[in-house]
């Protein structure tokens, strides 16, 4: 068997979804029994069967990618609840496995995927999509590309007439239907908080659920930007949003 074919076969097994109990499925790629599939490629040893050895990698894969999604989308997790969020991520990652060398980009296709698969956010479509957009904007703003900033000494009479204002590429502009920025900040705050008492933790958990349920629709315009290497959410007016959006899109009518 060629190296390429072996790697394709093993990767299919490694990336196959786990059972609900987080074990490797008994039915493998193509409907074949997984024990037979694993035994074809992997040697057993005196302690583990071929199936069990392959299962280590299958579990590692899913624990890694699900962990990364949970870290990147704490607000969406709060909206959907842990169980539904995990199920949604398994479905998303099965259809949209990573195409990037870095886990940072794992959620890059989540918004588009959810628009095609709204059943995963049924009843909370608008809220959930708002949250996904904000959480992805947060990632982009954190380490997105920055262009050099124009310094006053670089300006002269000639150059002013040629100026074209642009927004930094890492700046994200969002028109949202819910004030999800509050929820994200709360989710982040909660992650950094350790409660010594389980009772306090449970009370906080119930309060968080209530916070999601109580969230009322409210149109907001948001700039997700960074200053001194920290990401900030800033609410702006509709007019400000329109102007920044036009600048972001390179609208030349806004040139001086």
């Amino acid at each position: 068997m060629s190296l390429a074919n072996l790697q394709k076969a093993v990767a299919r097994a490694v990336m196959q979804p786990l059972t609900r109990n987080e074990h490797m499925r008994v039915v493998g790629p193509g409907g074949e029994r997984m024990r037979r599939y694993a035994a074809r490629y992997i040697k057993p040893n005196d302690r583990l069967t071929s199936f069990e050895r392959l299962e280590i990698y299958n579990r590692q894969y899913w624990f890694r990618v699900l962990g990364s999604m949970a870290e990147d989308f704490p607000g969406l997790r709060k909206i959907l609840g842990e169980r539904r969020f995990d199920d949604m991520c398994r479905a998303y990652l099965t259809e949209c496995p990573s195409r990037s060398f870095t886990l940072r980009n794992l959620g890059s296709r989540l918004e588009a995927w959810l628009r095609h698969n709204p059943q995963w956010v049924r009843g909370k479509e608008v809220l959930a999509l708002d949250m996904v957009r904000l959480e992805w904007a947060d990632i982009e703003a954190f380490d997105g590309e920055a262009e050099p900033v124009l310094r006053p000494e670089e300006l002269d009479a000639d150059s002013v007439s040629k100026l074209r204002l642009r927004v930094q590429p890492y700046v994200q502009l969002l028109e949202l239907h819910y004030p999800v920025d509050d929820l994200v900040l709360q989710a982040k705050d909660d992650e950094g908080t350790n409660f010594a008492s389980n009772a306090v933790g449970e009370l906080r958990r119930r309060m968080k659920v209530r916070a999601v349920v109580a969230l009322k629709p409210q149109k907001i315009f948001l700039v997700v930007h960074r200053l001194d290497f920290s990401v900030y959410f800033r609410r702006i007016e509709r007019e400000e949003y329109s102007m920044l959006k036009a600048l972001h899109g390179g609208d030349r009518s806004l040139a001086p």
């Binding site: 490694v14 302690r47 280590i56 894969y61 890694r64 990037s100 380490d143 290497f229």
Partner: protein, 283 residues
């Protein structure tokens, strides 16, 4: 022997992995550390805080780039755009060498984000060596390939892991990042003598050594990097430096990361073995 063409004739001592929880400590306290290893994928980005931190670190410390995604052993061709971005980072850091793993993890552009074990075949050795040469020539910096810990072996393998490693590095004419913890983990999972592995590695190709902690489960050992280095690994380290000499050594601690001081103190435990080696050499 420690300074060789595979680590760009440098004589680095004991370093630790640069990890986010320690950024503030390092930048404010400025502890004496010989060098830091960075996971280069974390800095192959457009801008923002990670690159700012890196630049601040570079002002005061030596940095070596280590990767987890080049997948020298994947059957697919190298991604030139990825290499272009990596080369740009190489210029930024001035890393004397670049290392990544002897493994595969991507198929046709889909990534598992894991370090999957190679089949130890001559075909795999040839493909891997070709890729290593290509990457080295593109980046214009020495490459060291790291042995991984593994939990599975393939029926198709035609040789032992250490024979495969030797076959690859000879064909590619590249260096070795010898991870003694990975050798120990694999030896327990695959029932071989780890000293046989250590003794079989071409010592003159060892550019760097990794040490780390691992976790024992009922039927296998997992390479978790969340513990201090265990005694059997220190013994292997001792043997490795007897053979390779005072080689740049790095402690990896990636999960349940304790304070900077604790990590650094653990790394500096390597000093006593280095001192012993010096005495033995002197005698």
């Amino acid at each position: 022997m420690p300074a060789n063409r595979f680590n760009n004739f440098t004589n680095y001592g004991i370093g630790i992995g640069l990890r986010a929880p320690h950024y503030d400590h390092i930048l404010t306290r400025k502890p004496v550390v010989d060098w830091f290893e960075i996971i280069f994928e974390n800095f192959m980005i457009g801008g923002g805080r990670p690159l700012r931190i890196l630049d601040q670190i570079l002002e005061q410390y030596r940095v070596v780039q280590h990767g987890v995604s080049m997948y020298f052993g994947s059957a697919n061709r190298p991604d030139r755009e990825h290499l272009r971005r990596l080369k740009s980072l190489v210029k930024r850091t001035g890393t004397p060498w670049v290392s990544d793993h002897l493994c595969w993890g991507s198929v046709d552009g889909t990534y598992t984000h894991d370090l999957l074990p190679m089949p130890y075949t001559f075909e795999a050795a040839k493909i891997t060596a070709q890729k290593l040469r290509y990457v080295r020539d593109f980046l214009e910096v020495p490459i060291a390939v790291e042995n991984v810990s593994s939990y599975a072996e393939y029926h198709v393998s035609e040789m032992t892991e250490w024979e495969f490693l030797n076959e690859v590095v000879e064909r590619a004419d590249c260096g070795i990042l010898l991870d003694v913890n990975n050798i120990y983990v694999s030896s327990q999972n695959h029932n071989f003598n780890p000293l046989t592995y250590i003794n079989s590695v071409p010592a003159d190709r060892v550019a760097q050594i990794h040490i780390a902690g691992h976790s024992k489960f009922e039927k296998f050992i997992l390479d978790t990097h969340d513990h201090p280095v265990l005694d059997p690994v220190w013994k292997l380290y001792d043997r490795a430096i007897q053979r390779a000499g005072h080689t740049a050594t790095l402690l990896e601690w990636d999960d349940r990361i304790p304070s900077f001081q604790e990590v650094h103190d653990e790394a500096l435990r390597a000093d006593r073995f280095l001192a012993d080696t010096q005495l033995k050499v002197a005698v």
